[in-house]
Symmetry: C2
DNA sequence: ATCTATGCAAAGTTTTTGCAGCACG
DNA sequence: CGTGCTGCAAAAACTTTGCATAGAT
């Protein structure tokens, strides 16, 4: 049901990334265009190993069992690109022959989010979206309220805000979520076209 | 003249702590936040009139009808302080003898959010929280992941980020939502106390 | 008089829970 | 071998929808 539109990341102090307004054309999510911050580069194979180790450590720490299902879910997540919801993850696994129950997916996602290997988002609709987050730069999102396209961006100022607010209010801040909601160029163009017609 | 902030908010460059919605019993969905009896605080009589006028204009603009239910809901919202969810609003109105159906509450909230008189939040759980927003300074939230306490803050840097990202990505940004998640001082103290015990 | 918005309840979505049996440690 | 984890399905939590009718214009 939910679609995960194209995702690219902009880093604010720099020049805008490619992401030309031109051809968004509401694709599925074939095009993952995560630009190359120096930390990325390597393909997921070795990163997957790292993540598995971290997950293992976490499970051992908490005295939880290392089940095949949990690792299968972790792998599926790290094989994916962009955002996904529980249903997409579940369907994707089924497609690959990795049958796992929904309850287990929810359970494991909670574990992963708790550990920080996965992040959870609520982009306005009542549907939790997830995203792998280990080894990826912390980023935030701009969401088009018309077509639900999601674009990523980074801005270093957020870190400063986070620190300052945490200090002033005596919170130990663990993570944040900044969503900007607006109308993308494509949708504005479409609206303009409609208006000229009328 | 009538500008008494009923929910104290911290403005980052200054110092002024404050506390928002209180926590609630945990346990998943079962329990909700205790409904905030909305009778206290400064009666926003004149502000309410302003808001009603704006709402009226919006309804006329869109060719929608000015029904008693819609105004009743608007009033209930502006009589409230802090955050609330649909159920709390619905229950609050019932208590005052303002019987309105849930469907109408949802419908009207959508209208108000669309117009910007009310803002909608998703604080991590899949439960929409709302808040009146006309005449109140745009603010953001720090959420305690333990007790679900919510504290508000303002930071002017966010506006700059919003503008810059909108310009660079060609989005017409309408609003944003910045949530900082962490553990509040109280919960950390409790955790520390537990640890000293062992 | 015309249609829109309401109310009610049923259906729809997403997430959680209870319990029998399997498998990790 | 015991107990936590999984799978299944039913329940819960929240939201949306369909249809008859009250009510705004």
């Amino acid at each position: 049901m939910s679609k995960s539109p194209d995702v690219s990341t902009l880093t604010t102090p720099a020049i805008a990334a490619g992401q030309g307004t031109g051809g968004s054309s509401e694709t599925g999510y074939a095009a993952k265009h995560t630009p190359s911050p120096a930390s990325e580069a390597t393909l997921n194979t070795d990163k997957l190993e790292e993540v598995k180790k971290l997950f293992t450590a976490h499970l051992e720490n908490k005295g939880l069992r290392k089940t095949g299902e949990r690792y299968a879910i972790l792998e599926e997540i790290y094989a994916r690109s962009g955002h996904f919801d529980v249903d997409e993850l579940y369907a994707g696994m089924k497609e690959r022959g990795l049958q796992v129950s929904r309850a287990t997916v929810y359970n494991t996602l909670d574990l992963l989010v708790e550990q920080g290997l996965v992040s959870k988002h609520q982009f306005g609709r009542n549907l939790a979206q997830y995203e792998k987050s280990y080894g990826y730069r912390q980023h935030d999102h701009v969401i088009c309220t018309e077509c639900h396209k999601v674009v990523e961006f980074c801005d270093p100022r957020i870190h400063g805000i986070q620190t300052m607010v945490g200090d002033l209010l005596n919170f130990h801040i663990l993570h944040h979520s900044l969503n900007l909601y607006g109308i993308c160029g494509d949708c504005r163009a479409q609206a303009a076209a409609r208006n000229t017609h009328a």
